[in-house]
């Protein structure tokens, strides 16, 4: 399973960096050619020890990737993100995120959704900036194609089929030793086909992997690190989420490429 390309750095004994093989939208981004004609490494090769400044500088800004401008309250309202399920389907832990109940239908508080969405997108952007592996999960058949194409366009991974028990917890046996697990799981719908919480939420918490997830009024938001209270059943809402995630990830990756190129140029200039 080890990549057959030349590894510039010495790896520790038994350590191989192999991306988490998820099907089917698994695509490695084509190696980009930077301004100085430099071919940047794809993630199959371990990164050289990057500048600490490169990684720590984005953390000092509250919104380094400016994710706030990607969405507005009106966009969320038009995409029908505020519509929840009926009163009987309500999960107890979603009550703080619900604005009210109109004729037995729950309405989600969009002010809170804005805050949560901003935090979640910011976190995703930082993970993508640091070249983390992001896995999109959704068990809704209606949107499985949409999620997979979103992942393909970002250069990330998606898993929209039946989740086998040991995919995360038993990865070393199912995929071989030295598998690199995803660094972030994004749930575009946190329930599975029988309206129970998706197994991957619990598994990610077990493997100490942070999660970002869209939680509807019938979902349990406890174990999700960055929940986004919102509708996960309307096509408009799902398209909005996919668009937002795709734009943040692409933005973060571009920023990373830019910073690396800039650093290279600067170190060359200093060297000369």
């Amino acid at each position: 399973r080890a990549p057959s390309m030349a590894v510039p750095r010495l790896l520790r004994a038994g350590e191989r960096v192999v991306p988490f093989p998820a099907r089917p939208a698994r695509v490695t981004p084509p190696p980009a050619v930077g301004a100085s004609g430099l071919v940047l490494q794809s993630r199959l090769v371990p990164c050289k020890p990057v500048d600490d400044k490169l990684l720590s500088e984005p953390l000092s800004h509250p919104d380094f990737f400016n994710v706030k401008e990607l969405f507005s309250l009106k966009d969320l309202f038009d995409a029908r993100v505020h519509l929840g399920h009926k009163k009987g389907c309500r999960h107890r832990f979603m009550e703080p995120y619900i604005f009210g109940c109109r004729l037995d239908q729950d309405i989600i508080d969009l002010d809170q959704t804005m805050q949560h969405l901003q935090l979640a997108l910011n976190f995703t952007a930082h993970i993508a900036y640091r070249k983390g592996i992001i896995l999109f999960i959704s068990r809704k058949r209606q949107f499985c194609h949409l999620v997979e194409s979103t992942a393909r366009e970002c250069g990330e991974y998606a898993h929209t089929r039946y989740w086998q028990g040991g995919l995360l917890t038993n990865a070393h046996i199912q995929f071989g030793p030295g598998v690199r697990l995803p660094d972030l799981l994004v749930f575009l719908s946190s329930l599975n086909n029988v309206f129970e919480p998706h197994v991957a939420i619990r598994d990610a918490a077990k493997m100490n992997i942070p999660t970002v997830g869209v939680v509807d009024t019938n979902c349990n938001p406890c174990l999700i690190t960055y929940p986004i209270p919102g509708n996960d059943d309307s096509p408009t809402a799902m398209e909005l989420y996919c668009k937002l995630f795709r734009m943040t990830i692409i933005r973060a990756k571009d920023k990373r490429r830019q910073s690396e190129v800039f650093n290279e140029l600067r170190s060359k200039a200093e060297g000369n």
Binding site: F123, R130, A204, K206, N208, C222, T225
Partner: protein
């Protein structure tokens, strides 16, 4: 490689932080990011216990002042003459126009409270929207207003038909349209 798989104790961050402190793992990618931008609520596991005793609904119901007018409108006129076009976000339904007219007339203050409803109906008629009251085109409901059950309605209708047959000597053609009419009136929701 060490790890902590106890998802019900603490959060992902607290467990990783403690493991880092004792030095058994190297720092994961997301750790600094989480430390810099923590979520609004720490993702600790909570047991979803059901509420016992008298259950109080913490989520407030959403009602507006205009809902009273809307309820009366729907009771009297049924759903409006035009179907709702939900694809436009700025669509104004007949009911919404009614409510706005009602509020306008109320603010003017010249008409009394009881008459406001009818006045709004007339005003809307003047502006071209025809409102049909629910149940006015069904003849049987006008005749037997107090009668609730379908059986008694049917009985009375049959009586009137019998009287007509006995009283006047009519042709077969005149009787059949009347019978057809009573048969049409039969499956009325009374």
């Amino acid at each position: 490689m060490a790890g902590n798989r106890m998802q019900k104790i603490g959060s992902v961050f607290s467990r990783t932080r403690n493991l880092l402190r004792i030095g058994v793992i190297k720092k994961p990618l997301w750790f600094d990011v989480y430390a810099a931008f923590p979520p609004l609520r720490e993702p600790v596991y909570r047991l979803p216990r059901p509420r016992y005793g008298k259950v109080k609904d913490v989520v407030r119901p959403i009602f507006y002042q205009e809902d009273e007018v809307r309820a009366k409108f729907y009771k009297v006129y049924g759903s409006g003459p035009r179907p709702f076009n939900l694809s436009q976000s700025n669509y104004k339904s007949t009911c919404q126009r009614f409510v706005e007219k009602f509020n306008e007339l109320k603010e003017e203050g010249k008409i009394e409270e009881e008459k406001l409803f009818e006045e709004t109906g007339k005003a809307l008629l003047a502006s071209g929207i025809i409102l049909q009251r629910r149940g006015t085109d069904k003849v049987a409901q006008e005749d037997h207003q107090g009668v609730e059950t379908r059986g008694s309605v049917l009985h009375l209708q049959l009586q009137t038909v019998l009287e007509e047959i006995q009283g006047k000597k009519k042709d077969q053609e005149e009787q059949t349209p009347e019978l057809a009419e009573t048969q049409k009136e039969n499956p009325l929701p009374s």
